[in-house]
Amino acid sequence: MTTKIMNKFINEPAHITAELLEGYVMAYRDIVTLDGDNTVVRVQAKSQDKVAIITLGGAGHEPALSGFVGEGMLDCSVVGDVFAAPGAQRLYQALVKFKREAGILLVVLNHSGDVMSANMACQLAERAGINVKQIVTHEDISAGLDTPDSDRRGLAGCIPLYKIVGAAAEDGKSLEEILEIGERFNQQIATLAVAMGSCTHPQNGVTISQLAPGEMEIGMGQHGEGGGGRQMLISADDTAEKMVTQLMAKIQPKAGDKMLLYINGVGATTMMEMNIIFRKACQVLEATGASVVESRIGEMLTVQESAGFQILLAKLDADHVELLKERKANAPFWTTIGK
């Protein structure tokens, strides 16, 4: 650990989460608003007869997770402090607000704080007769391909999942149907992160998992927690090839498969670099005869000013393609015009 001068535009560190959420809902006031502390909801609520989609997670990853609250995606995100799961009690209150016959789907990223909060909130909710089911995302393959689901982290793969389950809910599908569609996607997606340069925790100035200049680490977690091995920086093409090859080992794309390929920037890495990475990753992937039908390059789930990115690779079924590309979505950080 080193504490460096914190080069951030903030005010009182303890107020970061409250202030950033306030600013966010001011900027996107047509779409989102706060409903109680740390709880972002849609301005135009989804009708009561449809399944509500809720997620939870720490702040400091903007635009995730609240950037995806809006028509066709999330109904509500419950936000913790920077890099910290929200308390179970707060999450429980959101479940109470969204209680409905059709039920609630809670999307949880597999991080122990989030999982513990979600579990406790669901215990409380069950006692109150609330119909809620969880999907836990765990697409990080850095722990090894054979590692059980419960031991793999959830990285940015939650974001296309929000789109898929959000669109399915908007279509009027039942909680069970949505769960099935979502879990199927969950099994067909893999993510791998690479980091280069660390970030500073904005509340205490601590530098997390410092990397020396010219060093990189494949398998990095979403809060700067280390993972796979450190190595000297290699070229963009070699990095992309190495990472996508590992992802392909997990997803096994075949000729004719329809694929999703996203590059999620975590902070300082430029879109220039991510475009260059995408180029090689896509070439390697499409050499199998599979084709990329859904792609994005951008900062979706960030880790402060860390340098690095995550590659997301998924095999899409026909319904996934439809839900991703043909259904309207209108969240501040995800708009799909739809057909």
Partner: protein
């Protein structure tokens, strides 16, 4: 010391907040090695919420429930749920305005059960459980009826347990991903919970108000 009053309990919490705050940076630093560097901030915030709810308490069961919910309402992160479970578990186990030594043991056993509802981590996984489990076990095993004595035995065991985590490989929480590399540093949660147990004991021993 044969009875634990609400006032005694308030002193325990106050001193825990004071001592943990003083060592906050150390806990964040430990968390930065194999986690995300915020445990010091998190545990201080959580203990503030604990103290706030304790302050308005008049009866053990309701006070402890209020504490549990307040922690989970006002704070964030793993610590929020773990500490929430700890106090809700206590609340499930006891009631009244004074506790006998047996009831104190029941309360801490309840606290452990409350945390166990939240996590499958057990001894050796390099988490706060490595402080909590030995503490509760030692308290039950010590055979004394002096609450002061019981608390000190628990505190010593928690401290030893926290030191034991230095040699452990992490299996739970964010630290898990570090695997072998997690060896060599204490777990931040084990360290802070040991500090909390130490403060509980000291608060009873010192007798004078600690605020």
């Amino acid at each position: 010391m044969e009875k634990l009053t609400i006032d005694d309990f308030k002193k325990m919490i106050s001193l825990a907040l004071e001592h943990v705050s003083a060592r906050s940076d150390e806990f964040s630093a430990l968390d930065a090695v194999i986690g995300d560097g915020d445990h010091g901030t998190a545990i201080v915030q959580a203990l503030k919420a604990v103290r706030e709810a304790t302050d308005r308490g008049v009866e053990f069961k309701t006070m402890l429930e209020d504490v549990g919910f307040n922690v989970m309402m006002q704070t964030s992160g793993s610590t929020s749920t773990l500490l929430g479970g700890f106090f809700l578990g206590m609340s499930d186990a006891v009631a009244g305005t004074e506790l006998t030594s047996t009831e104190v043991l029941t309360m801490f056993r309840g606290a452990l059960e409350g945390v166990r509802k939240q996590t499958k981590a057990s001894k050796g996984d390099k988490t706060m459980m490595d402080a909590l489990i030995p503490a509760v076990e030692a308290m039950e095993a010590c055979g004394s009826t002096d609450i002061k004595k019981i608390m000190r035995v628990g505190a010593d065991a928690a401290l030893q347990g926290s030191l034991d985590t230095i040699q452990m490989k992490a299996n739970f929480g964010r630290a898990r991903n570090y695997a072998e590399k997690s060896i060599g540093f204490a777990d931040s949660g084990a360290a802070s919970w040991a500090c909390m147990f130490g403060s509980f004991a000291t608060a009873l021993e010192s007798g004078n108000s600690c605020d």
